[in-house]
Amino acid sequence: MGYIKDERPTTMMVGGSWNIGAYKYKANGLLDEYLEGLKEKKLIGSMCMGCGKVIVPPRLVCGRCHREMTERVVVSDKGTVTTFVVSPPIEKGKVKAMGMDAVELGLFTEGEVIMPAYVQFDGADCNLNLLILDADPKDVCVGMRVEAVWAENPVGALSDIEGVRPIPMECGGLDENQKKG
C-alpha cells in the first residue's frame, strides 16, 4: 500500500523555522473613524440603509445586503452580555501567546479568573469581545446589563475600552435558568 519503504521505519527529524513577520497589508482605514470616536468615549458604527443593521466598528459593505454602509451612528456604551466564558484560575505557563507568558508579563495575576464576553451595545446589531470587569463569576449571566469601562484618558486606541462592568440597577429580574445560561 503506497510506497512505504521497509528499511526506513521512522522519518528523520529535520528542524527549521520560518519568519512570518515580513508582510505589508492594505487596510481601508475605516477603523480610524471608530478610534476617533473612542477618544470622545463614543462608539461609532455604520448603518446599512438597506436593512437598518448597525455594525460596530464601522464596516464598508453590509454582509447581507451588500450595500455600502455610508451612514454613521453613535451607539450606547451600555449593552447586554450575549455570551461569555469563565476561565479557570490562571496559572503560570498556561496562558501563552507568541512565545510569551501572560503571568510573567504581569498581564494577569496567578489565580485570577477572567471573563471574556460578547457584548451587544444598545443600538448595535453586532457583538464586541470585551472583558467583564468588577464582577463575581457567579453573578455573570447571559442577558446581564453592562456598561463600558473607559480608560481614564482615551487616546484613540482599541484599548480605550478596558472592558465592561455590570450596571447594578439593571441586573435584577433574571431567573435561575438564565443565570446558568
Binding site: M1, G2, Y3, I4, P9, T10, T11, G16, W18, I20, Y23, Y25, A27, G29, L30, L31, L35, G45, K53, I55, V56, P57, P58, R59, L60, C62, G63, R64, T82, T83, F84, V85, V86, S87, P88, I90, V95, K96, A97, M98, M100, A102, L107, F108, P116, Y118, Q120, A124, D125, C126, N127, L128, L131, V142, V155, A157, L158, S159, N177, G181
Partner: protein, 420 residues
Amino acid sequence: MRKKSRHVAVVGCGQTKHSSRRRDVTLPEMVSQAVFAALEDAKIDPGEVDAFMVGNMQGFGGVAQPEQWIGDWIGASDKPVIRIATGGTTGGSVGQAAYYAAASGLYDVVVGTAWEKHSDSAEPGATTGLMHVGLANVFYALTKGFSLKNVMTASVAGAAAGVAVYQARFYMNRSGCKIEHLDAVAAKCRRNAAKNPYAHLQWPGCTPEDIAATELIAYPFRYGHVCPASDGASAIVVASEDFVRRRCEKPVWIKGLASYTDEENNLQAENWSGVGVLDPSEQMGCRVSAMKAYEMAGIKNPREEIDVAEIYQPFPSQELIFAERCGLFDPGTAWRAVESGDIEIEGKMPLDPSGGVNATNAIGSSALQRILEAALQVRGDAGEHQVPKKVKNAIATGWGGNTNYITFTVLGDEPGPRRW
C-alpha cells in the same frame, strides 16, 4: 440544448490510521497510503485515474505547497492536480470538487484526497498555519492599540475552541442544553471511535462521568470535550455513471450537494470591522446548504429519509447545533435525543457512528472523512461501527472558513432523482 450533468458515485474509500504523531511516514507517504487504499478498494488501476483533487489546511505544518511533493507519490504525474484549501471545510470542498469534475463530463475517474500532519509543527495548529488565518487583521489591530493583554485574553478562550465555546453558550442558553449533554455526546464519540480502527481518540465503554471528571478549560468546555490534533489522510475515488455501470460493484451515489457561506461569524471582519451575525450558533450557511442539497437529492423529509449523519463536530455542542441545522431535529431540541439515546449507533438517528471529528481531527481531511464514512455506511462496509439498519441515505457536513463556510453532501444507494 444544454447538456445535463452525469450521475456520480463514490466507488472507493481509503484512509490511514490517525494518531497524534505519525512519525513513521513523511507527508507524501501518508497521503499515498490513503490514495492507494482507496484505489485498491475501488479495484481501479492508478493509470485509470483522470484527475486528482487534493487539499489540506493552508500553510499547516509549515508547508505551503504540499501538492508539489505528493503528485508523483499518488500517481498523478502527467495528470491534472487541483489543490483546494477552504479551512475546516477543505476535505468537503475536495470531495465536492471531485464530484463536479466527474459530473461535468470532463473526467470519468477522479481521486479526492485530503490530509493533515499536525505533528510536523512544534505547536498544535502550527503557528505558520493558524496565524495565517487572520494574520493581517491581527497585525492591523496591534497597530491600533489592540494590546498584548487582548491577545492573551483571546488565547485564554483558545483560538478555534474559543469560537466554539462562545457558540456553545449561545446554543445552550437558547435551547436548554446542559453541560451534562455535552459530556454524553463526547463520551458517545469516544465509544464509537473505539469501534473504528482508523480513529484517534478511542475509549471503549467511555461514560459521561468519565468525561465530566476531566479538567474544565473554560465553561462549558472540558478537556474531554475537545477534539485531538491528528495526523492522517483520507481519500475517495469517484466515477461517472458510465464508468460505474461498466466497472463498479458497490457504488454510493452522490445525490445532492451544496456549499453555502454566511457572513463572517467570528467577531472581526476584514479591517477589524464588526460582523452582522449576533449568534454564531445560527449557522445559516448550514441551513441553506442543507435545504439546497436535499432539494437536489429529492429528500422531502430528512427526519424520515436520512438514516445516518456524519456531522463535522470538533466540539460536542456542534454535533447538536449542526444536526438541528441539517433538519434532523427541531431547533433547540437535539439535546433531548442525547437523553433518549437516539443519536447512538443503534439509535433512531445515529450521529457520527465513526466517532466523528470530535475523536479524530486531521483538519484538512476531516470533512472528506465525513463523506467517506457516510459512503461506508451506505455500502454497509463500516465494520464494527456500521449502523444496524438499512442505510438508504446518509449526510456528511463540513464546517470551516471563518466559522461560516459549510459543505453538505447527501449520499445514497440510488442516484438522485434527476440530472442537473
